[in-house]
């Protein structure tokens, strides 16, 4: 058989390998090691309370991961991020579906979401403290309100990008609503949803710290506040790294899901 249309040529495969360097390879370690070296060099010339040495930070990080209380704090923050994102995703999807189906509904909803986007995270913190009593619900509310517009817009875009041809083709087989969702809508919107989660994860990790700074009695934000009060830079950096590690781990999990779920388009993308 001759080379089928769309089958990647050797050249495309080579290009693919080059583009495939999006995972965490040795270059990533080299870059991070370089950053650590620069930090260490600076720490020789700058007062210790401003730039603690790398070994000291590593020691503090190790202390966090060997203390049940600290691990509980890290897990609490992680759970808050995931719960907030889950809530915003659910609400965003519930909003996006009628927006996609009704132009009238969309015309009313768009301005509200745009308005929401203009509200700073800190304002939501103040509002949450005034409106609600429970700390966990306050944080959940803040997380949902700050990530809701992005989720809604991304799910809406993914839905609208659905091929009219494929929709018509699937409809010609007379599927039930559930079958239409399962066979066409879900696979169509999945790439957009995964992207939305990756993008919002970074936003959420920043917002959760702000939310925890005011009012929480545990979590990374609370711990950062403690370090600030005792002017402990080593602790502040170590707790920041905890959050960074969490984000990297979750992003890795999403990438794994993406690789598995979107394997059908691997060649096509690499050939670009």
């Amino acid at each position: 058989m001759t080379l089928a249309q769309g089958e990647p040529s050797d050249r495309a495969r080579r290009a693919g390998n080059r583009f495939a360097v999006t995972g965490f390879r040795y270059e990533g370690f080299v870059a991070l090691a370089g950053l650590a070296i620069v930090w260490e060099i600076v720490s020789f010339f700058v007062p210790h309370f401003l730039f603690p040495s790398v070994p000291e930070i590593a020691e503090r990080l190790l202390a966090i991961f060997t203390s049940w209380r600290s691990i509980a704090d890290a897990l609490a923050t992680s759970a808050r991020i995931l719960a907030g994102l889950g809530g915003a995703f659910l609400l965003g999807t519930i909003l996006a579906m009628p927006m996609a189906r009704s132009a009238t509904f969309a015309r009313y909803t768009y301005p509200l979401l745009n308005f929401n986007q203009g509200i700073p995270a800190l304002s939501w913190v103040v509002i949450a403290i005034i409106w609600f009593r429970g700390i966990e619900f306050r944080i959940f509310f803040i997380m949902v309100m700050t990530t809701l517009p992005a989720f809604t817009f991304q799910v809406l875009d993914a839905y609208r990008a659905m091929s009219k041809d494929l929709f018509e083709m699937t409809l010609s087989f007379r599927p039930t609503r559930l079958d239409l969702f399962r066979t066409l809508i879900w696979p169509t919107v999945l790439p957009g949803i995964l992207t939305a989660w990756k993008v919002n994860l970074g936003n959420a990790s920043r917002v959760v710290v702000v939310a925890e700074l005011v009012g929480a009695t545990g979590g990374v934000g609370y711990e950062l506040l403690q370090q600030q009060q005792i002017f402990d830079m080593g602790g502040a950096v170590a707790w920041t790294l905890v959050l960074v590690i969490f984000v990297l781990v979750v992003q890795g999990v999403i990438t794994l899901i993406e690789t598995r779920a979107l394997r059908y388009r691997a060649f096509a993308e690499h050939a670009l």
């Binding site: 089928a4 249309q5 041809d165 018509e168 083709m169 087989f173 599927p175 388009r265």
Partner: protein, 267 residues
């Protein structure tokens, strides 16, 4: 016509409103015809003459603005779910789901008909084999050539054993060689299945090769010329039909073939 009416169009019109709020655009105007069970009808017409809209009316994807469409005694738009598994469509482009393998694409109609997985995959595999795609069952569409993808879409339409098969220029996107090869196989399959088939094409030769009956549409969709192709027609008679079709397509006056058995009730 001896065969019972499978598809009936009675003074059907279909108008679309414009997005900018301008006057409605009429794609089908007062179209009337009947098609008997097991007939193979070719529809010819210029681009934009409403052929595809007529298909969408038959398949129930569109509701007529006026008139009546009856398929197997039912309204295809109102009784949409009743037609599950009864109408198959082969589109101009393959319309394969990129996230499904070839076999999963072929099995789609069977899956939506709630056929058990093992059974539907066996049927899908046999159709792929019939269309020369053995060994490609688990390939994704992007790994297949245009001709192979169109074969998969043909297999998908046939796998559901539809009573009615609507074919919307299925070979127009393929090169001449691939199109010709696939057309021959397709003709054979159509004859074997005995489904009522309507075939849209721009090619007069393709229409003459595939159709037992020809309808030429003018714009907006209504029958400008119609004829039945008898078995064993002489080349001279075929030339006559070719000439009339060309005349109608080039904007000549609508003609009716006095020598042909005309079943149209076009107003």
């Amino acid at each position: 016509m001896s065969a019972p009416a499978e598809i009936l169009f009675e003074h059907v019109s279909k108008a679309f409103s414009r997005a900018d709020g301008g006057a409605a655009f009429e794609a089908v105007h007062e179209l009337s015809f009947t098609i008997g069970r097991g007939e193979l009808v070719a529809i010819l017409g210029k681009t934009g003459c409403g052929k595809s809209t007529t298909f969408n009316l038959i398949s129930g994807l569109l509701r007529p603005s006026a008139g009546r469409v009856v398929v197997q005694g039912h309204d295809p738009f109102a009784d949409f779910a009743w037609f599950r598994g009864k109408i198959g469509i082969i589109f101009q482009n393959d319309r394969l789901m990129p996230w499904r393998t070839a076999i999963e694409n072929v099995a789609l109609s069977l899956e939506l008909n709630k056929m058990p997985q093992k059974e539907r995959l066996a049927i899908a595999a046999s159709w792929l084999a019939r269309l020369g795609l053995s060994g490609h069952e688990h390939d994704y569409p992007h790994a297949l050539s245009g001709g192979m993808r169109q074969r998969v879409s043909i297999a998908r339409a046939f796998a559901g054993k539809p009573d009615i098969l609507l074919c919307d220029e299925p070979f127009s996107a393929l090169d001449e060689h691939t199109g010709n090869a696939l057309r021959e196989e397709f003709c054979e399959l159509l004859r074997q299945t005995g489904a009522t088939s309507i075939f849209i094409t721009h090619s007069i030769e393709e229409a003459l090769e595939l159709g037992e009956r020809l309808m030429v549409f003018e714009r907006p969709a209504r029958i400008a010329y119609e004829t039945t192709l008898r078995a064993g027609m002489s080349e001279q008679e075929r030339d006559g039909v070719r000439g009339r079709i060309r005349e109608v397509l080039s904007g000549g006056t609508a003609a009716s073939d006095a020598g042909a058995k005309n079943s149209a009730v076009n107003s």
